[in-house]
Structure formats: structure tokens, C-alpha cells
Symmetry: C2
Subunit: 388 residues, 2 copies
């Protein structure tokens, strides 16, 4: 019924090179999804994103639901028609923003009750509602609503939360299937992308047994693919790597694996080494707006006074528009002067760095030299710039 | 001594089609100069500006002097090397911003004493200093420091101010010539663009006789070209048109004429009809950031609720990136959501509208159909959009 498919074309150790097909085009994996929170990646146009080689964007259900509203977007024909981005979209469930942004939220078995951070209006996000909103948005990949547990959580709390997430996943899947055969209880949403896929989410905090069980039982429900959630929430890197290490073998070989909300360039390489195929993270875009550039030699804080008269490009090894045409001195001036261009130029560079890192990862897997790439990548980044 | 030249290639009535040569390239006139206040046009990259066909930018001496400083820019090799914009730059004298932005300013014969709006530091801008700063910036066209009189002013005040502006123009010209033959009193600035031209400025408020006299005496001092200043400061349009009408015949045929700080699309067409060759204005860029779009049917305020579900492009007659790829509904969403892209996409459109209007003006002059263009242009804009 779904236009979604995935195949692994090459492997190197546990690292996988693959291709994911969606109703709006193909995505080479491992892939990084720039975050377009409100239907736009902050600071760059769709044209910029295409020229950087972005093949899929993530957009946030919570934000779009509140403004301009999924009903309005559905009447426009869905997120692709509304935004003009013609390649794939993944939407999250809205849960993460309810937990991090909304006011006066309370969670019960039914779902998440909250008030809008924009106007204080009251809302209820259930697994079914999150499914319906995403059906109206018409993303190529929808996510199930999961409970986002704060870190740290004790094992009993983590088990309770995992059990609820599993019950919600069943409800979300039932609603998703009912929408596709039009058997759901009304009011039915406008399904703007009938080929939409739905991903389940593995939870379990930092408890390996819970992660195993969550993966097994989520796979039993049956989704087009699976994500690992509840990581990159403050736990140490090695704990995150362990959890990923533990989770991927429990997930089907033939389906993409998506590590949600991660992470630094180093994290991406380490997660690919453990079998991850998809990533999203606000780091390259948010840090760009704060003046932090990711480079082949480490991170560079452009506001640092030492760059005031530095005529070198931000990253001499980089071929992006920003590095080809701007000096550190000029970028520092734009940042200090509060120019909009500062965000644009820094974002272009950071996204290029992330997308290029994924391109190099994919090439390394094809040529079965991922391990040497991984070693060199970490060595290169450990030659940190002086301002670290 | 200067690499500056200008020739009128076609005329149609008093409208002129010409070409201006500068050390960083040629400019087809009549031309509109987008304003890059701090060495960057807000919201768009140099790449965008080139693709829109911008041939020359204006940058503000006051802002660059205060931050990052003309010394720093001179050590980088000048404004072109610093910003990466390789086509011509015109810089203003800094006077207008001293009058409009600076704190605790006092004017005397020596110059303008003021405090920085950034940090309160004390500064003195003299005709010589404004010339030196622009020599260090290395713009292709420098402007003399003039006194910017508030509107309205009585004729006695306007005469006094005009006389001071003439004395300042003589001092600025003397300093400019001394820099070129290195005979000036030290400390000498770093002259980063030896082919820089210097334009004089005609003042005289709204008094025709003063405008005549100012033009005649400014031409007597002798500059590469001449600007008309002190207009678009609150006087009615017909008064501005009259002053332009009166001033251009007093200025040499063989030199470009620059109407400073003007204006609306209608103003540009009317000024060309009176013999003007160069324009700058913040309207297209500033209004873009405030959600106002200039279209072939009039102005469109994108924040208006009536556009929330309007799938049409902002201007159906426009071929710019924004109009090709964005609906009014999406642009309204980006504006309401406070997305950076809103500024970028609106600015791309407004600058395209201005630059395209100038292209159409130039074509109309070549084919000697400027009068019919002018009539149709005003008729088209008078079919105002409903939200006016």
C-alpha cells in the first residue's frame, strides 16, 4: 500500500550504504536531514538546500499544527505544495516539542494535554491525533507519538514510560492503517500523501534490557521502519553509543534505522559504525546562528576577537559558497553587526559540512574503507582549533 | 587620474541611457543601487545580488567607520577584498547617518561632532575625515560630506546650510586631490582604490533659486559627477519632482546624475524622466523585512490575513525565485512565524522588482518609447491591490 521502500546496497562492518524510496524521491543513506522546524530551514532557501545536496528535510508537527495549522496546509495540498519543497519530508510526532516547549503539559494514558506556547490555547495530542495531523501534512515519513522521558530516569519509570510508548505505538499504527483503508472513526483527516510511511520508535532510556524489549515489541507491531528515540537528551556519549550498539541488532536488516535528534559530526560517524541510516539534528543550523562553525579541524567560534583580521576562509578544506567567498574577518563582522547574512552564510557552511560528511561516509562504505575514514575523521577533528 | 568615466548612449526626451565605468566594472544607467549598510545587503548574499543583476551596491560610511572600522577594512585591502563583492561600490559620506542615528550631535564649521549609537564614543566627522575614511574603504565612488538639513527649513536657514555645504565640498575636494598626489597633511590614509571618483552634492532644500545656485557652484568646484541631496526627506512628491526638474539642467550632460535616497518605483520613473541616472533607497529591502512587497499591481502587505490561503505567487507577472516557488500563503506563514527566510524571500522579490523596473526603463529609452512605458507603468500601479 505504501510507496516506501529501502534496500541496503553495500555494507562495511556494521555500517550500511543504502537507498530509501519515498513518494517524493529517493534518499541515499546514511543521510542527514536538515531541520525545517516551521516548514523552512532557518536562514537558507530551498534552492540553497538543493544545491547543498539535501535529499530530505525534517519538519516539526507541533509547530505546524499550531501555526499555520495542519488544516490550512491540508487545504493547500500538504506540506510539499505549501512550502514548495518537492523532495521528501519527514515529520516528527510533535511529542518532543510538547515536552520541551508547551506550557502546563500533563500526560495521561489518553495523550498529552498542553497549552500552546504561542497563545496559551488548550490542546490534546493523542497517538491518533498525531497520526491524523501528519496525514494532513502529507510528509513522506510520519513518526508515532512516544513519551519523551527526562534524563536521568530510574528503571521503573523508564519501564512504565516504555510500556505506555508501546501502547501508544499500537494505537498510532491502528489509526494509520485505518486512514489508508478509510475505516477510521470520523472526523477523518485529509490524507494528502497516500504513500506516507510510518516509523515506530524504540525507547527504554539507558537500560539495555528495556532497549532490547522495546525494539522487539515495536517491531512486532510492525512499521515501515524504526527509530531510536530518547537519546541525545543529556546522557554521556559513550552511553548513547552503547544504547545504539545494543538496539540496532534488534531492528530488521532490511529497514532503515533512524537515530533521532543526534548529533555532533563525531556522533554521526560513531552511529553509522553501529548500523544507523538516518539522522536529524538542529546543531548545524542552530549553532550557525550562534556563530559556531563546524570545520574539518574542529569547531570555530566566529565571534572570537582573534578572527577580526583573519583573512582565511572558515575551513580551508571546504568548498562551500561561504568558504569560497568569505573570510573569517568578514563573517565575524557580519555576526557582530547582527546582519541576517551571518545566519545564512554560517548555516550554508555548517549544513555543507554535515551533508559532505555523510557523502564521505557513503563513499567510504562503498569502497569498504569506512574504518580508516572513521579513524582519520576523529584524528582530524582532534586537531582542535585554538579557540576550543 | 581616475578610472571613472561615463557616456550617454541614448536619450529619449530628457531620459538618458548610459554607461558608467569604474575600477570594478561597468554600470548600465539608469541604475538602482541596493543598500548594503554594513557591507552586506540585509537578507541576501552577494551571489543572490549578482543573479538579480545588481551592478553596484551602496554601503554606509558611518556604519563601517564605527564597526568594524575603516582602518581594519583598509588593512584587508578595502571594502571589495573585505566583503568579497567584486563589482562597484558607492559609499556615502556618513553625514546622513550622523544626522539621523548618532547621539548628541553638534554641527559647526569644522564638521559634525557626535557620539556613536553603538558605544557612546565621541567622534568628529569633517569633510577631510569623510574623504579619508572613504579612501580607506576604497569604494569606486565617494561622496562629499554635506549638511543634511531637516525639512521643512526656511530659506535663510537653507541658504546658510547650502553655503556651509559648498565650503565643505571645497575642503573635501582639496583633500581628495591631495590624497591622489600624496601632498595631503599626515596622517595619510591607506588609499585602497586609487581609481576612486568623488561626487559633489547639490543642496538648497525646496528653494529653486538655491538649487540653481548650489548646482552651479558645486559644478564650479569640479567633481567626477554630481548628486542631488536633501530630497526624499518628507516633502511632497511633486515638490521633489520640481526640484529634480530644476536641478538636472544645471548639471553637466556628460556626467551621471545621482538622486540620493529615492524612492518609490513611481519616483524612479519620474526622476528618470527628468534626467536622473543613479538611485539608491532602502525601501525595497527595508519594506521586504516588514512584509511589504512591491508588485506590478501595487504594494502587497503579506501579513494581511486575506493571504493566509492564497496560493498565487506574490506577483503573477514576476519571474523571480520567490514568485516562481512561493505562494502568498507560504510567504505569509514565514512572516507570521518570524522565519529568517521571510526576509530573504521578500528581499529577493523587491530587489528584483526594482532592478527589473530599471532594466525596462533602459530598454524603453533605447527604443525611444520611454513616454509610453512611463504612462503604462503608472496605470499598472494605479490598479492597486485590495489591501491598499
Amino acid at each position: 500500500m505504501t510507496a516506501f521502500s529501502f534496500s541496503v546496497t553495500h555494507t562495511d562492518g556494521r555500517a550500511r550504504r543504502g537507498r530509501m524510496s519515498t513518494p517524493h524521491g529517493e534518499v541515499d543513506t546514511p543521510a542527514f536531514m536538515p531541520v525545517g522546524t516551521q516548514g523552512a530551514v532557518k536562514g537558507v532557501t530551498h534552492r540553497d538546500l538543493e544545491s547543498l545536496g539535501a535529499e530530505i528535510l525534517l519538519s516539526n508537527t507541533y509547530h505546524l499544527y499550531l501555526r499555520p495549522g495542519d488544516d490550512l496546509i491540508a487545504r493547500r495540498g500538504g506540506l510539499h505544495a505549501f512550502t514548495g519543497w518537492s523532495k521528501p519530508f519527514l515529520t516528527d510526532s510533535g511529542g518532543y516539542q510538547v515536552f520541551s516547549l508547551a506550557a502546563r503539559r500533563t500526560i495521561d494514558e489518553e495523550g498529552a494535554h498542553f497549552r500552546s506556547h504561542l497563545d496559551g490555547s488548550a490542546h490534546l495530542l493523542t497517538p491518533e491525533k498525531a497520526t491524523d495531523i501528519q496525514a494532513q501534512l502529507g510528509s513522506d515519513i510520519a513518526m508515532v507519538l512516544d513519551e519523551c522521558l527526562a534524563h536521568p530516569a530510574d528503571e521503573a519509570a523508564a519501564r512504565q514510560s516504555m510500556e505506555r510508548t508501546l501502547r501508544w505505538a499500537q494505537r498510532a499504527r491502528a489509526r494509520f492503517l485505518a486512514l489508508s483503508d478509510k475505516s477510521g472513526h470520523p472526523p477523518l483527516p485529509i490524507v494528502t500523501n497516500p504513500g506516507q510511511a510510518q516509523f515506530g520508535i524504540v525507547q527504554g532510556s539507558i537500560y539495555p534490557d528495556l532497549r532490547d524489549e522495546s525494539a522487539r515489541r515495536t517491531v512486532e507491531i510492525g512499521f515501515e521502519a524504526y527509530a531510536i528515540g530518547g537519546l541525545s537528551v543529556g546522557e554521556p556519549s559513550d552511553v548513547m553509543y552503547d544504547m545504539v550498539d545494543r538496539s540496532t541488532p534488534c531492528l530488521p536488516e532490511g529497514r532503515p534505522r533512524y537515530l533521532m535528534g543526534t548529533g555532533t559530526p563525531e556522533d554521526l560517524v560513531e552511529a553509522v559504525a553501529r548500523g544507523i541510516d538516518l539522522f536529524d539534528c538542529v546543531l548545524p543550523t542552530r549553532n550557525a546562528r550562534n556563530g559556531q562553525l563546524f570545520t574539518s579541524e574542529g569547531r570555530l567560534n566566529i565571534k572570537n576577537a582573534r578572527y577580526a583580521e583573519d583573512d582565511r576562509p572558515p575551513d580551508p578544506a571546504c568548498g562551500c559558497y561561504t568558504c569560497r567567498t568569505c573570510s573569517r574577518a568578514y563573517l565575524r563582522h557580519l555576526y557582530m553587526a547582527g546582519e541576517i547574512n551571518s545566519s545564512t552564510l554560517n548555516t550554508l557552511h555548517n549544513l555543507n559540512f554535515y551533508l559532505d560528511t555523510l557523502r564521505r561516509i557513503r563513499d567510504a562504505i562503498v569502497f569498504r574503507r569506512f574504518e580508516s575514514f572513521r579513524r582519520e575523521f576523529h584524528q582530524s577533528l582532534s586537531r582542535q582549533l585554538q579557540d576550543q
